[in-house]
């Protein structure tokens, strides 16, 4: 899935002008950037929730604005940032809504539908919750239920808008690992907006850094997670280190050490500076 010279805006304000990005098939692509850079706007437009002002969004080579919305729903699912939680709907019923694009108007659920729902419940580990009301779940469980709903749609592309917001670290890792697992075992193409750079780096194949609606950098986590890039996009000084247990770049904002005197901080930076952009084994 890709965009071609995409222009997006609300009212008369253009948020994104001339954006061409690409979500490679079978890979996980993270869109990151500062608040208001247009990353959620881009994601919403990819899922045809927002109509572009100009340009095109291509799914398997076809313009999604010209396709039937139901056909798209069979190939692409999105989990928006904070969906409404309906009252009195059970987890299983909620997940069942994901079968909407596959069902006729009046046909009762087919074998395929039930299989897809069971699979989604299984994949998200919601077995013991399936008869609970969605409004009685905790934040993490609820997020998993929503992901399961998107999964039961059985699409080749899954878009997620900040799926880890409001979750504790346990559920954050839970959700991230679940999505990567789905990507690895089922080849689902994933596009997500993430706020946490380290999560984006650890769980994505490709990172696209946006600023003011423009791509500042894109590429594998190793190539975009550099001090210069992050300074340029987010305006903070940071150090990039390697995860002690493996080859994953981690960003540590220098502001985390407020007790260091300014001179000391400068010195520390000098010490790190020579090696900062090449601390990693770039063998890929």
């Amino acid at each position: 899935m890709s965009t071609d010279r995409l222009r997006l805006g609300y009212d008369h304000r253009l948020v994104v002008d001339d954006l061409s990005i690409d979500l490679p098939r079978g890979q996980i692509t993270a869109i990151v950037g500062p608040n208001g850079c247009g990353k959620s706007t881009v994601l919403r437009s990819l899922a045809r929730l927002l109509k572009p002002v100009g340009g095109a969004i291509l799914l398997d080579g076809a313009d999604i604005q010209r396709s039937r919305t139901r056909d798209i729903a069979r190939r692409l699912a999105i989990l928006p940032q904070s969906p409404l939680t309906p009252s009195g709907v059970t987890v299983r019923e909620l997940i069942g809504y994901g079968r909407f694009p596959h069902q006729g108007l009046m046909r009762s659920p087919s074998r395929d539908d039930l299989d897809a729902i069971d699979w989604a419940i299984d994949a998200t580990g919601l077995d013991s919750f399936q008869d609970r009301g969605v409004d009685t779940l905790s934040g993490g469980e609820r997020q998993r239920a929503w992901i399961a709903m998107a999964l039961s749609q059985k699409t080749a592309v899954l878009l997620l808008d900040e799926p880890t917001t409001y979750l504790d670290i346990h559920y954050q890792i839970d959700v991230l690992a679940l999505v990567r697992e789905l990507n690895r075992t089922h080849g689902i193409t994933v596009g997500w907006v993430l706020h946490d750079l380290n999560q984006a780096a650890a769980y994505s194949d490709q990172i696209i850094m946006l600023k003011d609606g423009k791509v500042v950098n894109r590429g594998k986590p190793h190539t975009v997670m550099t001090t210069t890039c992050i300074k340029q996009v987010f305006g903070i000084d940071c150090s990039i280190i390697r995860h002690p247990l493996g080859d994953v770049p981690m960003c540590l904002p220098n502001g985390f050490c407020p007790l260091l005197s300014p001179e000391h901080r400068d010195r520390t930076q000098e010490n790190i500076a020579p090696s900062q952009d090449i601390p990693l084994n770039l063998a890929d």
């Binding site: 609300y10 009212d11 919403r44 899922a47 045809r48 929730l49 039937r68 919305t69 139901r70 056909d71 798209i72 729903a73 069979r74 699912a77 999105i78 989990l79 928006p80 940032q81 904070s82 969906p83 409404l84 939680t85 309906p86 009252s87 009195g88 709907v89 059970t90 019923e93 809504y97 994901g98 909407f100 694009p101 069902q103 108007l105 009046m106 008869d131 609970r132 009301g133 409004d135 009685t136 779940l137 905790s138 934040g139 609820r142 709903m149 998107a150 749609q153 409001y166």
Partner: protein
């Protein structure tokens, strides 16, 4: 951004609850069917001639043309069937429209169907009686449909949203209603019987109305149940999710609205404008446990029929053998206690789901040009006030007015006209308008529903009963008691609403539902008083529409102290209102005792509206739409919004008073009606200007 906090305590019995859900839904339907059957039996046995059950069966199965059989076949049966068909249509239409607008307060009246139908019938009876004689159901149907189409097209455009639909519907309803009331008032003798129709009645003279409609109701009802239920469930998850699931949100909304409107218009053509069934039937079945639309639609249809037929049984029972009372009056009396009882069982956590999902409309004024709005509003206010002094039954010159104020009036007549007649009226109008508008702003802020208004917590209906008791029911009471009786009525009905919605605290949803119930019941009682005293129709209508006729300095001295105290008090509450706009958790976390604060705000709002209503009568438009108009013109904090709303309300009612006095001089159009008629276009213009909608 919306923080979905995890619900604190998951109830332990959720699992069992969901397991029995389907059963409960079926139970709701089965009970409905049984109650309906019982009501039908009671209904068919009611009437002037006592007819034995055997004869009734004979008349249906094996008619022999005897008078008894004729009565059963052509008077009683059509009446029952009319109740069932219209009730079912209204029930389904209510479910559809509430789902489409995502607003629990929506119903066919919200999208203008009833108002359009009523106006069409009234206008036809005055201007084209032959048309009405030809087919009154058709006239009603077309009128309702046109109004709804206008509402829908006003609300849609590039960005249709539930809020816009509801607001446009309310504006059109009030605007058309004011025209209808004016027509009724000036043609009292032509249309006394039609006021009856306006309250809704099941009387059928033959099968004609039903023969042309029942299959449409059945067709649309069945089609909706078969084809729309899944789409409506999905729509309940929000536009984004629905789109993501491949639903064409706009066309779903269009089709469901169209179906709902058609059904409501059909019901109107059968039984007149029956207002309460479409609103209450969906809530009844939802509160009884039906959640998904597959169950909701048939259950609401059934219970809609139960309410309407039940109301008719009750109405005939109360009226006795020789008179008739409109069934519409009794739908409210039958449905309201039920609604209140069920609403009391709504728990706090459940309640949140029924809150209206609002989206903010982009304001008219850009932040930068907002300072311009103030002088513009003040200038308009002064200009209209001055015009109000100049115009009247006898137009004066502006110069004369100024000279009168400076103490040298050209003649005694001018002096009188300006200082004793016009000035106090305008002051009363201004004060009342400001009070009503600010009251509406406060109620909307607390209940967090754009369709809320002072009426919602029972103010106008309560005041109306108080006033009608003085005006009509006990004519020996001195007329000077009227303001006091109205104020007392408003306060009592608010106290009742508040007490009935209290159970370990107040939830806005419960308050709104109980308020609907109480208002409807009080409105029904008021209607009952009027219908029973057709001679005083105009007096009553004038008061009910709100009038500044012949208000003098005495009224000013009654109203002024209230406003001088209450408006500043309201203003000191602006910080609270700002915080209430952020939901319940924010004010609570900032250390505001929710229930106490809410009660204080509401009490001030009630006092403002009650004081205004007791002097000028039940003016509906200003409390509902002036706050929206001011929010759309000048969004932001209540510190500025409250004074601005007061100016808008005052300007509206002063302008209405002026127009009402001059339009048909020497006759007067009640200013409440003019306020609605002139405010509607302004409001619709604002709505059209705020085309784009900002989703937060």
């Amino acid at each position: 951004m919306q923080v979905t906090a995890p619900t604190a305590a998951a109830s332990p019995d959720t699992k069992a609850e969901t397991g029995t859900r389907t059963w409960r839904g079926l139970l709701v339907i089965a009970t409905g069917a049984l109650v309906l059957a019982a009501l039908m039996i009671m209904h068919i046995r009611q009437g002037m001639a006592s007819i034995s059950p055997g004869t009734i069966v004979d008349a249906i199965v094996n008619p022999d043309g005897s008078p008894e059989h004729q009565v059963v076949r052509y008077a009683r049966l059509p009446r029952i069937v009319a109740g069932i068909v219209a009730g079912a249509a209204l029930g389904i239409s209510g479910v559809l429209l509430q789902a489409v607008t995502r607003n629990p307060l929506a119903s066919a009246s919200t999208v203008g169907v009833n108002a359009g139908a009523y106006l069409a019938v009234i206008a036809a009876s005055i201007f084209a009686p032959t048309l009405l004689a030809f087919s009154s159901p058709l006239v009603a149907f077309i009128g309702g449909l046109i109004a709804a189409v206008v509402v829908y097209s006003l609300a849609s455009g590039s960005a249709s949203s539930p809020t816009r639909l509801a607001l446009a519907g309310m504006a059109i309803t009030l605007g058309l209603g004011s025209i209808t009331s004016t027509l009724i008032m000036f043609n009292e003798y032509t249309i006394t019987g039609l006021y009856f129709w306006g309250s809704g009645s099941l009387i059928q003279r033959n099968w004609m109305a039903l023969n042309n409609t029942w299959y449409w109701v059945a067709l649309i009802g069945v089609a909706s149940t078969l084809f729309l239920t899944k789409a409506l469930d999905v729509l309940g998850l929000g536009d984004d999710i629905a789109t993501s699931l491949g639903q064409n949100v706009r066309s779903t909304r269009l089709i469901a609205t169209l179906a709902g409107v058609m059904l409501a218009a059909l019901a109107v053509s059968i039984a007149g404008s029956i207002s309460f069934v479409g609103l209450v039937a969906p809530h009844l079945v939802r509160l009884a446990g039906a959640r998904r639309h597959r169950m909701l639609l048939p259950a609401a249809a059934l219970w809609g029929a139960v309410i309407l037929v039940g109301a008719d049984v009750l109405g005939r029972f109360v009226a006795g053998q020789y008179t008739e009372l409109p069934a519409g009056v009794f739908t409210a009396l039958v449905g309201a206690p039920w609604l209140i009882w069920l609403a009391r069982r709504v728990s706090r956590s459940q309640g949140r789901a029924t809150e209206a999902q609002t989206d903010s409309l982009t304001p008219l004024a850009k932040r930068r040009s907002q300072w311009l709005v103030w002088p513009a509003a003040l200038a308009l206010f002064l200009a209209i006030t001055f015009t109000g002094l100049v115009l009247g039954d006898r137009d004066l010159s502006g110069l004369d007015v100024i000279r009168t104020f400076l103490g040298n009036a050209p003649d005694a007549l001018t002096h009188d006209a300006v200082l004793t007649h016009r000035l106090p009226r305008l002051i009363v109008a201004g004060l009342a308008g400001a009070g009503l508008a600010v009251s509406g702003l406060m109620v909307q802020g607390v209940v967090r529903n754009p369709l809320a208004a002072p009426d919602l917590v029972g103010i106008s209906p309560g005041a109306s009963i108080g006033a009608l008791v003085v005006l009509i029911a006990v004519p020996s009471l001195p007329i000077g008691l009227l303001p006091i009786a109205a104020f007392a009525g408003a306060s009592i009905s608010f106290a009742l609403v508040y007490a009935l919605s209290w159970s370990r605290g107040i939830s806005p949803t419960r308050l709104a539902l109980v308020g609907i119930g109480m208002s409807a019941a009080a409105g029904a009682v008021a209607n009952l008083i009027i219908v029973n005293n057709p001679m005083q129709l105009t007096t009553a209508m004038t008061w009910l529409s709100g009038s500044t006729y012949a208000r003098g300095w005495g009224d000013v001295t009654q109203l002024l102290p209230w406003m001088l105290v209450l408006l500043p008090v309201a203003w000191t509450m602006s910080r609270w209102l700002d915080l209430f706009g952020l939901g319940e958790d924010v004010p609570r976390s900032l250390g505001i005792p929710l229930d106490r604060t809410r009660l204080m705000i509401l009490a001030v709002a009630v006092a403002l509206a009650a004081a205004a209503v007791s002097i000028v009568g039940a003016i509906g438009f200003i409390g509902l739409l002036a706050p929206h108009a001011s929010r759309m013109t000048l969004p932001g904090r209540h510190r500025l919004l409250i004074p601005f709303t007061a100016i808008i309300g005052a300007t509206l009612l002063i302008g209405a008073d002026t127009i009402g006095r001059t339009l048909m001089a020497p006759s007067e159009v009640p200013s409440g009606l003019v306020a609605a008629a002139q405010g509607t276009p302004y409001f619709l213009w604002l709505l059209a200007r705020s085309r784009q909608i900002r989703y937060s």
